[in-house]
């Protein structure tokens, strides 16, 4: 099919966070962290299934998480988990119509009430909390 038939922006356009402000960045991060956590979930099931190989097999696999690469991976998981949770709460409240403003006659320059400071603060909080959690995680894991 000719790509111009529907002229869709596609995944490249969907993932481009640069044009529509912090809300679109949050949308993009939410998808990215969601996919990352799904990948971790699968890896986690594989990791825990190693217990079937007995104590030696389990400890051999667990040793992988005690390496520098393992610590970096776990730090990313902590960051993804915290951002996805905090931003998820913001999005769920928004989906329920909470904090999206009230309908009113719009005045120029038509700043959208749904993109208000409360939601922006929620997004920045999710990013900051994720960064703090990652730093704490790194301090614990690398400080051993």
């Amino acid at each position: 099919m000719n790509p111009h038939d529907e002229h869709k922006e596609g995944i490249g356009g969907m993932a481009n966070p640069g044009r529509y402000g912090i809300e679109r960045v949050a949308y993009w991060l939410m998808r990215l962290t969601g996919l990352g956590l799904l990948g971790y979930f699968v890896a986690h099931i594989y990791e825990t299934s190693n217990i079937l190989k007995g104590r030696v097999g389990w400890e051999e696999f667990l040793a992988l998480t005690q390496t520098t690469e393992g610590h970096i991976f776990m730090t990313l998981v902590i960051g993804m988990c915290v951002f996805h949770t905090v931003n998820g709460i913001r999005v769920m409240l928004g989906h329920g119509g909470v904090g999206v403003g009230k309908p009113a006659r719009p005045d120029y320059p038509y700043l959208p009430a749904s993109q208000n400071a409360r939601h922006k603060m929620g997004i920045y909080s999710a990013i900051v909390l994720a960064a703090v959690a990652m730093m704490y995680g790194m301090a614990v894991m690398f400080g051993e």
Binding site: E6, H7, Y20, G94
Partner: protein, 251 residues
């Protein structure tokens, strides 16, 4: 392949020179989009539409662009300007703060030619949510002869009545970018407009239409639709309020 042309006629002491890059594509002949570059003189107040019309008037009249009112009322001249969907008549070249202005057809709409796109799908989805008052009686048959509404009741939906069906929200929506069956922010905002109208009795019918897998649940509150709306409709707010109602968060 880019071609460059200069228009000298409009030079003045206050004018500024910008490069206008226009996407050229004819689905019947071309396999890919090409950009033609024109050096145009613009004033502080020159709109992108005026710059395009200058190109049509002075050099290449074959550039296809749809426009009508030139005052952000008809919703005809929506296009992607420097990467963002905007109305060409409502966007001054000076506000873009760039010496290169790139204009492309809106995303998520089939291209007819150059900057002109098909609106069939937008009109179909708009029609799908029944954008009219549904009730058994009419203003002619009822005893009161009119359906009275308080100013507070009017405030609930008047914002969403400003929609000019320009399609910018659908072009900016990240779900529309990948899902061909999504109803889209324009139609969902209009569904809210009528559900919130105290005169309307078709709430259940409308909610049934949008309560499907490619309906309201595909909106993930990215908010890009509201950021590009030139009339302050804020479709994201309407969609979230409607979903809040469906989820039982709101009465």
């Amino acid at each position: 392949m880019a071609q460059s042309y200069e228009i000298d006629e409009k030079k003045s002491l206050t004018s500024k020179v910008v490069t206008l890059r226009i996407a050229r594509f004819n689905p019947e002949k071309d396999s890919d989009t090409k950009f033609m570059e024109f050096i145009v003189n613009v004033e502080k107040w020159t709109t992108v539409l005026e710059a395009i019309l200058d190109v049509k008037q002075h050099f290449d009249h074959s550039v296809a662009v749809r426009y009508s009112c030139r005052q952000a009322t008809c919703g005809s001249c929506g296009m992607v300007i420097n990467g963002k969907p905007r109305l060409a008549c409502f966007t001054k070249v000076s506000e873009l703060q760039s010496e290169v202005v790139t204009v492309e057809p809106m995303h998520n709409f089939p291209i007819i030619r150059d900057l002109t796109v098909r609106f069939d799908r937008l009109f179909n989805t708009h029609h799908k949510v029944k954008p009219y008052l549904i009730r058994d009686d009419s203003e002619i048959t009822s005893n009161t002869k009119e359906f009275l509404q308080s100013p507070e009741e009017l405030e609930q939906f008047i914002q969403f009545s400003n929609c000019i069906k320009c399609g910018l929200c659908n072009s900016a929506c990240p779900t529309m970018a990948t899902d061909s069956s999504f109803v889209g922010p324009q139609a969902l905002a209009q569904a809210y407009r009528y559900v919130a109208d105290s005169r309307d009795k078709g709430k259940d019918t409308r909610l049934k239409i949008i309560d499907e897998s490619h309906g309201i649940w595909r909106c993930h509150f990215a908010g890009s639709c509201s950021q590009v709306c030139p009339k302050g409709v804020d479709p994201a707010m309407g969609i979230q309020l409607l979903r809040g109602y469906m989820l039982g968060f709101r009465s």
